[in-house]
């Protein structure tokens, strides 16, 4: 039961957070509808966490934020390269062949808005403060980005990952929002939401 309760709770967090994040995205994309998959919440061993992002050599755009405040943790927003370019085209109304400075800056801001929306939703729900850092952005091999996120979060044993995938209805855009809460703070968050032992 312990396990189910915790996973259910995390799924709900993922749902609420991603709901707000994708609403923000949808508004920026002038109402383009987004479909959100049911959040995939997993407690992974180190080895499983390492293999969590498939296609280690695939080029992706990764936006990374450190969360401070009452609940500390790390958030990543990961997009395949093609999806990132399509997003930039929708945001700028110009064709995007390569991700130049302007395009990266647009994506960084977009990631920032989505992540902030996600955290704001959690903060409202729990009365806790969750403050995002300035976002970092990288275009690189998925393995290198994911590995750097795990190292930044100092995941060495087990990791709780809340991953939500979303798709746009019209354009071929997909992405992942991943939240890695620090274990201790996460228990505090659960407490503040009225969940006793999880």
């Amino acid at each position: 039961m312990y396990y189910n309760t915790k996973l259910d709770f995390l799924k709900e967090l993922g749902n609420i957070g991603t709901g707000h994040a994708t609403t923000a995205l949808s508004q920026m994309l002038k109402g383009e509808l987004l479909r959100i998959e049911v959040p995939n919440v997993q407690l992974l061993s180190f080895n499983e966490a390492v293999a969590f992002v498939g296609g280690l050599e695939q080029v992706v755009v990764g936006i990374f934020v450190v969360v401070s405040g009452d609940v500390k943790g790390h958030m990543a927003f990961i997009l395949p390269l093609g999806s990132a370019k399509t997003l930039v085209e929708l945001l700028t109304n110009e064709s995007c062949q390569e991700l130049d400075e302007m395009a990266l800056s647009a994506l960084q801001e977009l990631g920032n808005i989505m992540i902030t929306s996600y955290l704001n939703a959690l903060a409202k729900l729990s009365n806790a403060t969750l403050l995002p850092s300035v976002p970092g952005i990288a275009v690189d091999m998925a393995g290198a980005i994911w590995q750097s996120v795990l190292a930044g979060a100092e995941v060495v044993n087990m990791a709780t990952l809340i991953r939500t995938e979303f798709f746009t209805m019209e354009k071929a855009i997909q992405g992942d929002i991943i939240f890695l809460p620090d274990e201790e703070d996460f228990q505090k968050l659960a407490h503040s939401l009225g969940l006793e032992e999880i």
Partner: protein, 161 residues
């Protein structure tokens, strides 16, 4: 030809022939040890500089950390017939993919490089090739037959180190 993939935190070795490959080095560091006389190659994919007290699994996976990984790599090379005095190291990775975050005065990647250099130095193993630091990810391959190490990055020509 055998190609063995070395995942994050792992150490693998080959003798005489085959290729050792590690993909997705960001702040992580790929380290190879090679003895050209007996053609023994060992590759590690090191995650953090120092073992955390909270990680009780390091005995099972010493390759996660520089302070446990380098001794484990040397031991593996010696087990396969290499001689310590002939071992040569090459190092790739230790990048900082998110430089604008300025989280630590010294990035995790650089801390990894410093720790690995120190531990190799303890064994008096020379580092013959390096492609380190910077802001991009890398892939590293060691061809065990001849000891050649190549490093690949997105949008760049592969280089030999």
């Amino acid at each position: 030809m055998v190609e063995l993939f070395v995942n994050l935190g792992q150490i693998h070795s080959l003798k005489s022939k085959g290729i050792l490959t590690t993909i997705g080095l960001g702040s992580c560091v790929g380290v190879t040890l090679y003895d050209s006389v007996v053609k023994v190659g060992v590759m590690g994919h090191i995650f953090l500089p120092k073992r955390r007290g909270s990680d009780n699994s390091a005995a099972a996976a010493p390759g996660k950390y520089a302070d446990t990984g380098i001794p484990a790599m040397v031991k593996e090379a010696l087990n396969l017939g290499a001689q310590k005095s002939r071992l040569q190291a090459k190092v790739a990775g230790g990048a900082n993919l998110f430089p604008n975050l300025h989280l630590d005065a010294i990035s995790i990647g650089e801390q990894n490089i410093i720790a690995i250099t120190k531990h190799l130095d303890n064994y008096k193993i020379p580092i013959l090739g390096r492609d380190i630091l910077g802001n991009h990810g890398r892939k590293m391959r060691l061809t065990v037959e001849n000891g050649i190490v190549t490093v690949t990055a997105i949008g760049k020509e592969p280089i030999q180190i």
